[in-house]
């Protein structure tokens, strides 16, 4: 429809008004039919329950949200860990209060305490029995470096001499809040882990990222 140009306005030229009217008329003319829903073919139940995400995000979410801890508490830091598990600090808020007596059901090792060389082969064995993927939190000064026993003839100067450590929580012993912070740091670390390996990495079997 042609807009007639017989009136003049102070704010704009007739040409401009005419152009605006044309755009509206064209859009109106081409918009008489409803646009069909692209998901129309889906059932209603299905439609409400589909969420799009990436494999990395979904697998890392499930891994970090329920870390099961292997029981390996050689010394006194264990009592702070017990406090963390207990009702006051309540680790179950983060979904990981469960402790496993069998390392085969665990994926997190919290190394709470001094490690002697006599005990070291057993800790390494517990670590090896844990299924992949697995993480280690070194809790306290002894676990990080041997602590005050570092120069002793019988003490391992840090768990990272025998097993790979992901997060270090300092303190002697660390406060329960510090351990919770360490666990949440580990969760953030897990969230960044690429789950699907790049193709050139595939032949490196058994190698831990």
């Amino acid at each position: 429809m042609e807009v007639s140009g017989d009136r003049e306005y102070i704010y704009s030229s007739i040409e401009l008004d005419r152009y605006e009217g044309q755009v509206i008329e064209e859009l109106k003319a081409s918009s008489q039919e409803a646009i069909p829903d692209p998901d129309e073919w889906l059932e209603e139940e299905l439609e409400r329950n589909i969420l799009l995400t990436t494999v990395d995000a979904i697998i890392n979410w499930s891994r970090r949200s329920s870390l099961w801890t292997a029981m390996c508490f050689p010394a006194c830091c264990a009592f702070e860990l017990i406090a963390v598990e207990g009702p006051r600090f309540d680790l179950s808020r983060f979904g990981m209060e469960i402790l496993r007596a069998s390392p085969r059901q665990a994926d997190l090792m919290i190394t709470a305490g001094t490690l002697t060389w006599k005990m070291a082969p057993n800790v390494k064995r517990i670590y090896n029995q844990m299924p992949e993927p697995k993480w280690v939190i070194a809790m306290g000064a002894c676990a990080i470096s041997g602590g005050i026993f570092r120069s002793s003839y019988s003490v391992v100067p840090g768990y990272n001499k025998i097993i790979p450590v992901d997060v270090y929580v300092p303190g002697c012993p660390p406060r329960p809040e510090a351990l919770i912070h360490g666990i949440r740091m580990l969760q953030r670390k897990i969230a960044k882990t690429p789950v699907v390996p790049d193709l050139p990495e595939l032949p490196l079997k058994g190698k831990r990222r």
């Binding site: 002697t116 060389w117 006599k118 120069s151 003839y153 019988s154």
Partner: protein, 147 residues
């Protein structure tokens, strides 16, 4: 309260039974010759008025010129206690008779002393290291131990 018996008093009783087995004695303790340790231990345990039926602990001290093994004994029946000691002068191959036949609780403590001090307990059925591992060099609680 447990009464701490005088070492001198006990020493005179031991001397009566087996002369020449006490090396020296004081108010706190008495030192027994190591070759008569077993007979003294049996006497202390079986004598009706002493009856030291409980071994509190065994420990050892390195005095450079000799090692001293210390036993604290208690009678649960009479509620009294005494400390007896014995010495061994060899540094290369120190040995003391094991009291495991008299007090069974001596088992692990004698192994600990062997492990950390290097004193052998003759007659112990399982004389091997307990805290450290086979092949560990030296005995770390000795005064001349250097890493």
């Amino acid at each position: 309260m447990t009464v701490a018996l005088s070492g001198k008093e006990i020493a005179s009783q031991i001397e009566e039974k087996s002369p020449g087995s006490v090396e020296e004695s004081s108010q706190d303790s008495l030192v027994v010759k190591s070759d008569s340790l077993l007979s003294v231990a049996a006497f202390l345990k079986d004598n009706e008025t002493l009856k030291f039926d409980y071994l509190n602990y065994i420990t050892a001290v390195d005095y450079f010129s000799y090692f001293e093994v210390v036993y604290q004994l208690t009678s649960l029946e009479h509620n009294h206690t005494v400390v007896i000691k014995t010495r061994c002068y060899s540094r290369e191959n120190p040995a003391v008779p094991s009291v495991i036949g008299v007090w069974q609780g001596a088992d692990f403590q004698e192994r600990e002393i062997y492990d950390l001090m290097g004193i052998k307990f003759e007659g112990h059925p399982n004389m091997k290291r307990i805290f450290l591992w086979e092949g560990f060099p030296g005995h770390p609680l000795r005064k001349d131990y250097l890493q």
